[in-house]
């Protein structure tokens, strides 16, 4: 049997405690993913990645570091991976989605901070995730207050670079964000020892754009009346997008899409006939947070789209590739990333427009807005989402939850009632 314990020890992990997480993951994966019927064959790559989640990719990153490479951990879809890869580094997402890590975070953070932040801090401080051990530097960002202050605590344990994300989207804010990207470039150059050239940045803008296009292609297939792939499977793919090798990931998503094209042509559905079509909006669902997708898709519905950072906000809009100079490319990156409509911005009416557009494009029967507990920005913004959904006559359900199972039964009852109402 594959034995990564030596590698984990070398990374300074608490192998004994980590084993408690390892013990439960296989059954969780079985219950959520392998219990599904009629999955596409080409989900096999993604099944492999999650089966080896703390093995294969960490081993690749370890080898990369041993050969002199630098790994940058990121927590947010606003951080431009293009820059990190252009500097010869590797970007890996570090958002944490398991209750396993929350108590570790609560040792240093107040309980009324969102579970994603607590789990991310806990994963580092308890030394129970190889990705958190492998990053040479973490890139944080000033999205919400919780993250801003949590990064101060993390900086006691790991080198951090913070990007100052603007609060608004005026022209001067886009200019400011371009400035932050220039600062990131300098930092990546300092850490990697590599100069980021225009050619390198252009090449990596293209690489990440290709990944976005592959995900766009995957999502478009879910607009079909016949749903060729479950939302649960697409969520897994979106989560893996944050840490897998970008070129390999893009290839595997396109291979999957080739199969899904055939499924659509033949009318092969991955979901039971009559499943209600649901658009999810809200806060990101970091791996291994599959809770709400599992509840919704075992309650008579199919999730056909996610307006989240583990969904459309990750890949919508490409970076304009027409620029030739570093300056042009930096501005193109800034323009693209400032189109992400996160609730940390004010105002954020464009997100409501996105939700309406996606509900129409994906033929959603209803919208479920899901946010993590103690997430003030998304919780407050829900007022506008609900108001606009009601105005447009789109059935709407709001859910606030965390990573525990304590509310699962109650949530299932609410979701089932909502889906029943859609019928």
């Amino acid at each position: 049997m594959a034995d990564y314990r030596e590698m984990w020890k070398e990374l300074g992990m608490d192998v004994e405690n980590h084993d408690n997480l390892c013990a439960v993951l296989p059954q969780a994966i079985g219950d959520v993913f392998l219990s599904q019927k009629n999955r596409p064959e080409k989900m096999d790559y993604f099944d492999f990645v999650i089966a080896e989640v703390h093995g294969v990719r960490p081993a690749e990153l370890k080898k990369f570091r041993e050969e002199g490479g630098k790994v940058f951990g990121t927590f947010c879809t606003y951080v431009p991976d293009e820059v990190i890869f252009a500097g010869g580094g590797i970007a890996t997402g570090l958002c944490a989605g398991s209750q396993f890590w929350v108590p570790g975070g609560e040792q240093v953070l107040p309980a009324n901070v969102c579970p994603l932040i607590k789990a991310s801090v806990g994963a580092r401080l308890t030394r129970t995730c190889p990705f958190f051990r492998l990053a040479d530097m973490y890139i944080g960002e000033t999205t919400c207050d919780g993250k801003k202050k949590a990064y101060e605590i993390l900086s006691e344990d790991v080198p951090m670079h913070i990007m100052d994300l603007p609060q608004m989207k005026r022209p001067e804010d886009i200019e400011k964000w371009a400035g932050e990207i220039k600062t990131l470039i300098s930092k990546v150059e300092e850490v990697t020892g590599n100069k980021i050239t225009a050619a390198a940045l252009k090449k990596n803008i293209h690489m990440i754009n290709e990944k976005r296009k592959a995900l766009m292609r995957l999502y478009k297939l879910r607009q079909n009346p016949v749903v060729p792939i479950s939302g649960t499977d697409v969520l897994l793919i979106s989560q893996i997008a944050y840490y897998d090798d970008p070129v390999r990931f893009t290839q595997k998503v396109n291979e999957l899409c080739d199969e899904l094209d055939e499924r659509v042509a033949k009318g092969i559905s991955a979901v039971p006939e009559g499943s209600k079509r649901i658009l999810i909006s809200g806060t990101p669902m970091a791996v291994p947070n599959w809770k709400m997708h599992n509840i919704i898709e075992t309650s008579g519905a199919a999730i056909v789209c996610e307006e989240t950072c583990t969904g459309t906000r990750y890949f919508e809009n490409l970076v304009d590739e027409s620029g030739e100079t570093l300056d042009e490319m930096i501005h193109a990156i800034a323009e693209r990333y400032m189109k992400i409509n996160c609730a940390c911005f004010t105002p954020n009416t464009a997100r409501i427009d996105d939700i309406k557009r996606l509900a129409k494009d994906y033929h959603a029967d209803g919208v479920i807005d899901i946010h993590l507990k103690f997430c003030t920005t998304y919780d407050v913004e829900e007022y506008f989402v609900e108001k606009e959904m009601k105005k447009d006559g789109i059935p709407f359900l709001e859910i606030e939850t965390d990573y525990t199972d304590s509310d699962s039964q109650q949530l299932k009852t609410r979701v089932e009632a909502f889906i029943e109402m859609l019928s």
Binding site: M1, A2, Y4, R5, G30, L34, D47, A51, K412
Partner: protein
Amino acid sequence: MDTENQLHYYILFKNHTDGTAMYHALKTAGLKAQIAPTPRQLSVCCGVSLIIQPEEIPQIKKIAKEQHLDYVKIESVNNPFKRG
């Protein structure tokens, strides 16, 4: 349907390279194989294994021998996958 009992048959491997080699060989031969994390009952560490059909075990062993595909063992475990 009995949700308390579901016997799964797993092929276990020393490493993921052996696992993926076997997976592709079985799929090419038209046999059923599902990539799955190795259940805790069968391993002290993580890693990938294959869920197979018990009636196909003789064919699997034949293919493994003919194509010199390494595996550790084939074992079954009662671990129902509970949906919902």
